[in-house]
Structures are given as C-alpha cells and as structure tokens.
Symmetry: C2
Subunit: 218 residues, 2 copies
DNA sequence: ATTCTTTTGTACCATTTTGAACAAAAATCC
DNA sequence: GGATTTTTGTTCAAAATGGTACAAAAGAAT
C-alpha cells in the first residue's frame, strides 16, 4: 500500500520551492499517482474503473485519494488534463519547428503511435477519443475538454499546412482546412484501430497512404 | 412495465412461420426490446448501463431479460450485432449500386450522419467506435467484432474507389486502398465529433472537404 | 516535552448491481 | 377440465461501489 520506501529526499541546498510542509508527510508523490490513475482510466474508461482499482494502483487509500484529487469525476478530469499536457509536451516541439511538411507530419504520427500503442495491458488508444465515446461526454465540463482537444489538434495541423503552402511545398489551390481535418481524421482512425489491436505495421501503412494523399507521394 | 397492450396479433392466414408457441405468451417483442437496449448502450456504454436501466427501458424484468438475451455481456453483443445489421441495411444499397463515385460517397456520409446524430438524449455516435474506446475491447469476442466492423467498412470503400478507377473517374495512379482508409477515417472523425456535439453543419463541411480531396473538387 | 497540523489506515454506511430462486399466471395439448 | 409448458413478477442474497468518520501516526512549531 506504500508507493515508495525512500526516506524524504534530502532537500537540495538552496531549493526554496519546498518550504517544509507542516504535518505528517505524504506517502505518495502526487505526480506518479496521477500517472497510475491515468493508466487505469485509459485502459478501462471512467465507469469501469473503480475507486478500489485506483486505490490499489496508486498505492493511496481512498481517503488520501479524496484529499489529493477530489472525487472520482475530478480525478478523471485531472487525469485527462495530465494526458493532454503530456501529449502537448511530446508533440509541441514538432508543431512549433519549421521542418518540411512531410517530415513534421511523419514525426507527429510516430509520436501518436507511441502514445496509442504503449501500455502493458494492450494498446491504450487516445484518451480524447475514448472519452468522447464514453458516458463522460454527458458531463458538460468533460465534453468541453474533448471538444477543446479536437479543435486544438485541428488548428495545429492547419498551421502546418498553411506554412507549407506559404513555402510552396503545397499547391496554391490546396484547402488547408480540409487537409487539417484529414490529418486529424488520420489521428482518430489510428487511435481507434490501435485500440482494436491492429498491429503497428498496418497503422504505419495507413499513415503512409494518408501522407501520400495529403502531401503528394514521396 | 408492460411493453404494449395489444392482444396477440391475429395470426395471418397461411403464415407458417408462427407455429404457435406453447406456454405463456411473451409480453414483449424481442426486436423492439433489443432496439431499446441498443439505445441505452449507445448512450452510456457498457459499464455505465445497468440491468435496471435495461429492464426499465425494455419493459422486461430482469429474469425475462436473462431468458431472452442471456447476461449483460451477451445482450451487449446482441445489441452490437443489431446495430451493425441496421447500418448494413441502411448503407448496403449505396455500396452495391453503381452511381458515380462522389454521389455514392455523399450518400454514405449522409446516412452515417443520420445514424450518429440521431437520438433524443444527444448524439449517439458510432457504436463500433464507442465500443473500441470502451473497456469492452478487452473481451476478445467483442474486439473481434470491432475489427470486423472496421475492415468491412474499409473494404466497402475500397470497392467504390476501385470501381471508380476502372471507370476513369479517378486517375490511374490513385491508390484505392489509401483512399479507402481516408474515407473510413472521415467516418471515424465525424463519429467522434458528433459525440462531442459538433453541429451537423460543421460535420457536413468536414465531409465536403474530405470529398474534395478524395474525388477532386466538384 | 508538548502542542498543533496534516496525512494515513481502518472501519463503516448507504446504495447500487448482478444474478438466481420460486410461486403465480397464461397459454397450448390431451 | 386437467396436465404441461413457458413466461412473468416478486423477492432475496451476495458482492461491489462511491463516499465518509475517526482515531492513530508522523512530522514541524513552540
């Protein structure tokens, strides 16, 4: 039931960010606990993940879970936020840099496949897509996050295509919005197929085919 | 708790398919009950739909539900089968006829949007996509159905594009498999977005953009 | 050493959920 | 009419679930 046995880490000299909490020290690290919770939610979804499961996986007992993250719904939302932060961190650099279009897209899809296919208990897919499919969409706050996630991806892809068009990598007649939606569609389709255990090779072939259509064959 | 009050329908003269069942007659029609169950599962997914919900919606009490469809998992599977049969029935004609490519695809997407956006309690999305996202994929039988649904759609689209190519509606260099995957991707993306309550107009715009890329602008 | 603060861990509660048992009901067959 | 068959409707039981109360524990502040 204990997350780690290490004694409280000797505070680094001159680390002002840790002003010595007052009461009994936590037996868990909130970040790793949230990661475990995210793992569970990604595997089974909201309803099928019980607080007992979460308690076991995080090494925190129920009251601690409440104290740290609130009730199940709040924990789900925080897990989702964590997922999106991670995804943003992984893709952000590629979306910000200015490499040739095809190269950037290839990198994005490679990262996406890593995210969707990782996990010991089978591929985990995309949390945004899973949440959209779950009962959680009936919750307005959660639905807003899903919508936000979808449009954020659309916009990031649209930027890629616009830049490529400016640079002459794409025909002047290209519809960058439509292409961006196709790029997102491809993300969505591989997320779904990954969940159904389609092997990586096939997913990569689907991505390659989509890239050939969107960017012209290499 | 009763599905309908109508007395047992007077058997049509010369209808040999109804050999008069022996015991107490059913108070429900299996087909409409299964339809109600499907509605519930589509709204909330497997785990979040309880047998009580199903019992209330179908007008059957629990033991009858068991007798008719087996346990919850079996009922889910039968609902899924029903969903797929319905979808096949709705799209089959379009996939079988030989109208011009763009027209056929437009019809398919219109039907898909009808399916995904229908429902009083918010849009219901695509059951295949929802199931893929749910905990149900960890069940091998269900996962197999999902995979089957995905590849069936791929193949139907691939046939459309192959035929179009033979007819010269498409460039000889067109990669029909890649185009089919893009067509499926577009189905998947609108299913997901529908679930997130993106309005029909926007979904139609996404479809139009995808069609322009796949078939060439109209 | 004592007090105060925060977290932990156990125990508990109310509700929901799945599933099964079983007698009553409603029809057909003889 | 009586036996048989099938479904219904009530009821129960066992387990799981989300959430909370509360005393013990572990550290800092005084």
């Amino acid at each position: 039931m204990v997350q780690k046995n290490k004694p409280p880490p000797a505070a680094k000299i001159g680390a002002p960010a840790v002003p010595k909490r007052r009461g009994r020290p936590r037996a868990y690290e909130p970040d790793v606990a949230l990661g475990k919770a995210l793992d569970l939610f990604r595997r089974a979804g909201f309803a099928a993940t019980s607080l007992d499961d979460l308690s076991a996986a995080t090494g925190m007992n129920r009251p601690s879970l409440y104290g740290a993250f609130g009730d199940k719904r709040e924990l789900y939302i925080k897990s989702y936020r964590r997922y999106r932060d991670d995804a943003r961190a992984a893709m952000g650099a590629v979306f910000r840099d200015e490499a040739p279009l095809r190269q950037r897209l290839e990198r994005i899809y490679a990262i996406a496949l890593d995210i969707y296919l990782s996990g010991e208990a089978g591929p985990r897919g995309c949390f945004t897509v899973m949440t959209a499919g779950s009962e959680a969409v009936s919750d307005p706050a959660i639905r807003a996050m899903v919508l936000e996630g979808l449009t954020e991806l659309d916009k990031a892809f649209a930027n890629c295509f616009r830049l490529a068009k400016e640079r002459g990598e794409l025909a002047g007649s290209a519809d960058t919005t439509a292409l961006a939606h196709l790029a997102s569609s491809t993300i969505h389709t591989i997320a779904i197929r990954a969940r159904a255990c389609v092997p990586r090779k096939e997913l990569e072939a689907i991505v390659k085919g989509a890239l050939d259509v969107m960017c012209g064959p290499k």
